[in-house]
Amino acid sequence: MSAGNFNNTNASARSWFERLDRVDRRWIFLLMFLAVSGPILWIGVTGKTLPEAPTLAARAVFQEIDQLPARSLVLISFDYDPASAGELQPMATSLVRQCAAKNLRMVFIALWPLGSQVAQQTIQDVIRDDYPALKEGDDFVNMGYQAGNEAVMKLLLTDFAKAFPKDSRGEATSNIPILKDVKMASNFPLLISISAGYPGSKEWVQYVISAYNDKMNFVAGCTGVSAPQLYPYFPQQIAGLLGAIKGAAEYESMVNESLEVDGVATAPKYLQAQRRMGPQLVAHLLMVGLIIVGNVIFFARKRRGAA
């Protein structure tokens, strides 16, 4: 509704709701900034986080990884870039952490050009820092980025080495011990995709999972914006789904709980998602408040118009 509709309103006769209705949207921007930055400061200073109650979809992710026998192969696809890291990095960190703690063998791939870098960073933060016993090539490997979107996925169905001929260090796939028995994607009992859009989890379902639903389990982490498109696939094709930072926080709290050692505080990098739920809560309440105020204005004006 454009402001032009109210040009004939006499400025002095404007009632409170009309003034509120025409409020400069920059005030809303300021409120949003405060709603996000306030809790960040507060949580940053006090270090307190809100409790989480894991939902079904997040519990399923945890169980899928938990039930795998040690040394199982897991294919982890980083289909996002640093622009979405705010939302997806906490999931990636927790997923890699649970896999590393379970002593699963991880193969990282990226279908987004910058995904390889993000994967490398995650490897550094989780595996190199906290699980230094795991060796690159034997226990995990980063295969880097491959251009081609779905074409790469289809190629994975038949020939892993052709899709990813070398890893990010430049080592040929045939020389990497962890990939010795890997011919195609179905050699991985579990596929994990952390995706921010196209290509991402939806394409994995369409091109890979639907081809072998019974041989390969699939869990996905996604941004809030792609979650609605993925829910139809849960729980048939996507066994577990982490939707946005909320899903990440639920899953993170489960992983932390399972790996908790008495007397040792969880490292702050494993609390990222739960910390970010603070600003979420206040900002969501602000949005809810804005919608309510907007409708109060609407009904007040409607009544005035009818009177």
Partner: protein
């Protein structure tokens, strides 16, 4: 002739590609096209770069308002291109030291990664973050109960917004077990699995038909507006 030949190229290419999906021998044609396309798009970067340079050089030479910003754009473009194309300051990959360009541009501490980390990341992700402000102003303005459609739109958004935070747990967490389906977090999942699935499914089926009809319009030569409007 200048329009007929491109049209035939499109028609033949399109039908051949369609058929190749059904011929086991030619099933990799799609992947091959993806490669070919990526290469053509990478080569076409020259055209984009040319257009970018042209628009800013013209602005400069005309001394248009804000020509100073054109210097910034051109300068940063050329410097970044120079650093990246020549892999300035990148050491060879330790596994293959004999290959001078085997190192990755992304190596930590390189000029390239400096540009990435301190320019591209803050600029693009802050641009992305502006959305948080825009969802708020859009919700305030557009989510008003004007009619049934609008009520459904804002009502669902309301439920999901509340159900996705701890507030939902506080507000409805006390519901007894037999009414647990009405707890906000479960309600939002129910909405997702039923209404959202139905809506998305219909949209997807519609899109599939739309894509098929659009594709066929092109392949039958009915719609030539992409070659230029009308039948000129």
């Amino acid at each position: 002739m200048k329009r007929i030949i491109p049209m035939w190229i499109a028609i033949i290419g399109g039908f051949a590609m369609m058929l190749s999906s059904f011929i086991p021998l030619a099933e990799s044609a799609g992947e091959m096209f993806a490669d070919v396309f990526n290469v053509v798009a990478a080569i076409a970067f020259v055209l984009g770069a040319g257009s970018l340079a042209k628009q800013h050089l013209e602005k400069l030479s005309r001394r248009d308002a804000g020509w100073g910003y054109s210097i910034i754009t051109l300068g940063s473009f050329l410097i970044t291109l120079f650093i990246g194309m020549l892999k300035i300051g990148i050491h060879p990959n330790p596994s293959f030291p004999q290959a001078a360009y085997s190192g990755s541009n992304d190596a930590e501490g390189s000029a390239w990664s400096w540009i990435y980390e301190y320019m591209i990341t803050p600029l693009t992700s802050t641009m992305f973050a502006l959305l948080a402000f825009f969802v708020a102003s859009a919700a305030f303005r557009a989510f008003r109960a004007k009619n049934t459609e609008a009520i459904l739109l804002l009502g669902t958004a309301f439920i999901v917004l509340l159900g996705r935070t701890f507030a939902g747990v506080v507000l409805t967490g006390w519901f007894p077990d037999w009414a647990s389906g009405l707890r906000l977090e479960n309600l939002s999942i129910y909405v997702m699995q039923v209404f959202n699935t139905a809506g998305n499914r219909a949209i997807m089926i519609g899109i599939a038909l739309g894509v098929a009809a659009t594709g066929l319009r092109i392949l039958f030569g009915i719609d030539r507006s992409w070659l230029g409007g009308g039948d000129a």
